[in-house]
Symmetry: C3
Subunit: 206 residues, 3 copies
């Protein structure tokens, strides 16, 4: 099940990347690259940081084709996509949660300590979007928005807690997935957000 969700998720992330590239008037190639990077960048950063070589997507060429195609397709269907905005937010939320669980699993298998496992989950969940925003020259949205990255943190913590108490792996995954998805959707619906830190000094220099 997680694999199906994963494939849907990287497609949705690739399309969100393509839209961001379109806002910067990139050409077809730029669109394809940003799509690829948004979808697979989080896992890539995780693999590199954990020393988990070869990097996952290098062993799964279909992931490359899927994300690049989704990006290019977006150029054609973009004008109709505002009608699908709600669907998209749901797919993106599924992606965030699925990526986080997958990231935790990778770090667990490599025997990293729990805090690192949590970090690996978060990095997998949010770094695709961060790389997209860096390449599109804007402040990463996932660090400003309504509850987004923190959903990733909560999913990771819940997942590891359930595993720790010996709960069956499938049940754990389903629970973490459902709670995370519900939370993200609730955050969108009721505009939940974390306290924002606004700092505007007059003459301070860091």
């Amino acid at each position: 099940m997680l694999t199906t969700v994963y494939l849907i998720a990287i497609t949705a992330e690739a399309m969100s990347g393509a839209l961001a590239a379109g806002r910067r008037n990139m050409d077809m190639f730029g669109v394809a690259l940003i799509a690829f990077l948004t979808a697979l960048g989080g896992g890539t950063v995780r693999d590199v940081l954990l020393g988990n070589f070869p990097v996952t997507w290098t062993q799964h060429p279909p992931y490359i084709y899927l994300t690049v195609s989704a990006g290019l397709l977006t150029m054609v269907v973009a004008r109709f996509m505002h009608r699908l905005q709600r669907l998209f937010l749901i797919l993106d939320a599924m992606g965030l949660v699925a990526f986080t669980i997958i990231g935790c699993n990778v770090a667990l298998k490599l025997d990293y300590s729990l805090p690192v496992v949590v970090m690996a989950g978060i990095i997998t969940g949010i770094f695709g979007g961060i790389l997209r925003d860096i390449l599109c020259n804007q402040t990463p949205q996932v660090l400003c928005h309504e509850l987004y990255a923190s959903v990733s943190l909560l999913v990771a913590l819940l997942y590891l807690t359930l595993l720790h108490f010996g709960v069956n792996e499938s049940v754990t995954m389903l629970a973490a997935f459902s709670v995370g998805l519900a939370m993200r959707l609730a955050a969108i619906r009721w505009r939940w957000s974390l306290p924002v830190f606004s700092y505007a000094p007059e003459r301070w220099q860091s």
Copy 2:
């Protein structure tokens, strides 16, 4: 021959990096760092992604000296460089093509699958310029411009196709190099470009 072209190319890339740093009023150190990163960043990203340690430039200190010197020299000669604009575009095109071929070769030697080999070629070809633009806080030019990154893709595909059909390696290299260079120069001359994706939604949020 590829080595000579490579040395010329990293020098040209370092100088283009230095000019970009100058547009951001960086100091001498910043100029040197951006020059280094523009010239050797593509290969570094490739090596890290492919798990190809030690990273190439760490085994070739002269590459460090060459790129840093080229960057600093640029501070002195910048005022005369607009006369050499045409020469520069040619050197940059040579670099793009040479980097791509070298990147493909590195991935081939590590036994990666063909799609990954193509990606390795492209990453080596264009990521130096992308890192330069990220550090200079602008949207990566190579993803917007006339046919640039796509030349890298075509060179990689041509190179691998010829190798696949058993064409002699030197001939393959020369053919890929010439075709790629010709294509990039033609793209500059006649302003060839890929379709651009301009997306300006009014109320859409990704």
Copy 3:
């Protein structure tokens, strides 16, 4: 002693990261992430480039807690921090110098050649600040400012020169640390800076 200085330094760097995040109106999560990245990003980039896996902070969870806590604490105390500006600049200078020495040591232990050791020191010293500025969507300050990154270069060179001439390791460390700190503080006090390269062409395109 270096460990104590290191802990003080990553705390100071985390707080500087948090302030930068606050200037971009990030939420609590963004503040924590930027704090973590500013403090530990330089060492992470160094470890990845040198192939030094596992990356240092993955083996020291307390570093994660310390930097994240320091970042969150900053949200509370930020309004009083302008009074501590001078203290902060000193802590930041200590961090720059300590990070550089630590970076050189890591590369020395991995038997890299001297130019790479110097680069490893500089990367450890300045890349946390560079990553902070990239994520906060501004041109890296350490490449523009008064003598900053170049202090890192000088510390690395001094450290390696003294080691080369067989000076006792503790003495070497103390000397490099003191000279580096003095130099950075002098640079702040008397606004020393490197020549700046300002390049503003009218019609040139790189």
